[in-house]
């Protein structure tokens, strides 16, 4: 069988681009889980809302950058509101409750989007056109920019966590919620802030991903599944692991879709998940606990 080098090359870059966006979505999810043990089923819908906000801002202002910033900000606020109203009352209860509550939220948001925007997919225009030569092929610029932006946002998060004043609060709360409170850290608000950050990141991914696919009310569903796979494979609560896992899985799927249909390449990530759970349940990129 002839090896399609062109395709492999293109798919490598595509895989990395998609991987970075997926990493952005998954980072928010793993952050939320790591700090408050909440499995946020509605994460895909926050992604979807971000994309729609992006569409609105883009059509009114014409600026992609404004769309990115405003969408992230607005959805972050929505996320904070959701956390305060529906998740705070559930603190201390069985984790099943938060899964169910966020599942309910995802249903409501999905149908709200359907109601407001209709079933037809929208398009976000690429921020700029133009291609460059990648070795001997043409590759669109904006995809590289999108990947770079995702990386920048994740990098920003990392720096914030490591060096920012509130970064210490977040890290302390993640490690020991009780002692963090005993040190005067207002843990309930830290939770809200982290949820908002996660939501904002999901929204940013939605805007960034918008030009690559259509924006529809169901775009969140597939992404939430993929994001969960990434989070589990990368190690729940492990930021670096999620990023590595996101790129790894995206690359595998990108290569797989050379030979099988995109719908079936989803099975690839599922298999990775199953293998991980069987052999390295704490995460593929996490050293197995001794």
């Amino acid at each position: 069988m002839e090896i399609p080098w062109d395709l492999i090359l293109i798919q490598t870059v595509n895989g990395i681009v998609t991987g970075m966006i997926l990493a952005l979505v998954a980072s928010g999810l793993t952050l939320i889980f790591g700090i408050m043990d909440v499995v946020n089923f509605a994460h895909g819908e926050l992604f979807m809302l971000g994309a729609y906000m992006g569409v609105i801002v883009l059509t009114t202002t014409g600026s992609f950058w404004l769309a990115l910033i405003l969408a992230s900000f607005i959805v972050a606020l929505i996320g904070a509101a959701l956390q305060v109203t529906t998740l705070r009352p559930l603190l201390g209860r069985d984790p099943l409750n938060t899964i169910l509550a966020t599942f309910g939220i995802s249903l409501v948001l999905q149908n709200y989007a359907l109601w407001q925007f209709g079933p037809v997919a929208r398009k976000i225009q690429e921020p700029f056109t133009g291609q460059f030569t990648l070795f001997y092929l043409q590759y669109p610029w904006y995809r590289i920019v999108i990947a770079a932006l995702s990386a920048a946002i994740i990098g920003g998060l990392y720096l914030f966590l490591k060096y920012g004043r509130y970064g210490i609060w977040i890290r302390a709360t993640t490690q020991d919620r009780v002692m963090a409170q005993a040190m005067g850290i207002p843990v309930p608000w830290v939770h809200t802030a982290v949820f908002a950050i996660g939501a904002g990141m999901a929204a940013a991914s939605g805007v960034l991903f918008g030009p690559l696919v259509g924006v529809s009310h169901i775009m969140g569903l597939d992404w939430v599944l993929k994001a969960f796979i990434v989070v589990v494979v990368g190690g729940m609560g492990n930021l670096g692991g999620s990023i590595a896992a996101a790129i790894f899985i995206s690359l595998l799927e990108a290569y797989a879709s050379i030979w099988v249909s995109p719908a079936q390449s989803v099975i690839v990530s599922s298999i990775v998940l199953i293998l991980t759970l069987l052999f390295r349940p704490t995460g593929l990129f996490v050293p197995t606990p001794k």
């Binding site: 490690q175 005993a182 850290i185 207002p186």
Partner: protein, 245 residues
């Protein structure tokens, strides 16, 4: 025996609290008080409810009955982060320092408060590094890499960052070498001189007798006896009654 602080409002007053863990009735009406600047000991066998009493004061568990007041204001069942800001420091039984944060970052969790000038923060840090030179050495190391004794120092130093009026100290000398135990003894003395009150839960009787002004004895979830430390010796039958096997 008159209790100091009966004329003025005690710093912390616990009145007849009952605390449950799920269905287990742990505290059956605990009452005690700590005056400003006092070192008060809380002795008793394992499992008698001493830690739970501290946790009930700190808001880590909520008493189902009874009242806790701080400087006369009711604080029963309030969330711990509010109490920390009011001026109650807590050093738990297993130290519980933030293992993945550096020593400096551990201290910063208490240091980064609103309304504290940079100069005052630096002064606090300098003071703590002077008392615990080993922490100064290891300031950039992750908390989890410290030895048991060093972690205990860090736990106490971290609480001091809050500039508390009272520190709840839960078994600070547990598992420590004698050299470290005497260091703890010195720290308690220093804090006492600075006017910080201490409620000291301990199994180490000689240390407690030396450091405290008054001692409460707990048994089966309640305070059963109360005496001035000066009137007790290590071989006292009271000690044997509440701590002997």
């Amino acid at each position: 025996m008159t209790q100091p602080g009966t004329a003025t409002v005690p710093l912390v007053k616990v009145e007849d609290i009952h605390t449950y863990y799920g269905k287990s009735h742990i505290l059956h009406g605990v009452s005690l008080e700590v005056g400003a600047g006092e070192v008060v000991g809380l002795l008793g066998r394992n499992g008698v409810g001493k830690s739970t009493t501290l946790k009930s004061i700190m808001g880590l568990v909520s008493p189902s009955e009874g009242k806790v007041t701080f400087q006369g204001q009711p604080i029963t069942g309030q969330p711990p982060h509010k109490l920390a800001r009011l001026g109650i420091g807590y050093v738990p039984e297993d130290r519980r320092i933030f293992k993945l944060l550096t020593v400096m970052e551990n201290l910063r969790t208490g240091l980064d408060r609103a309304g504290v000038s940079d100069a005052r923060k630096q002064a606090l840090l300098d003071k703590v590094y002077a008392y615990f030179p080993v922490l100064a050495e290891r300031r950039s190391q992750a908390g989890g890499t410290l030895s048991g004794g060093e972690q205990q120092m860090l736990a106490i130093a971290r609480a001091m960052m809050l500039e508390p009026r009272i520190i709840l100290l839960d078994e600070p000398t547990e598992g420590l070498m004698p050299r470290m135990v005497s260091q703890i003894r010195q720290i308690i003395e220093v804090l006492h001189k600075e006017g910080v009150a201490i409620l000291l839960v301990e199994q180490n009787v000689p240390l407690t007798l030396e450091a405290s002004q008054r001692i409460y004895f707990m048994e089966k979830g309640a305070v059963r006896h109360h005496a001035a430390a000066s009137q007790l010796t290590v071989n006292d039958p009271v000690i044997h009654q509440y701590l002997g096997v």
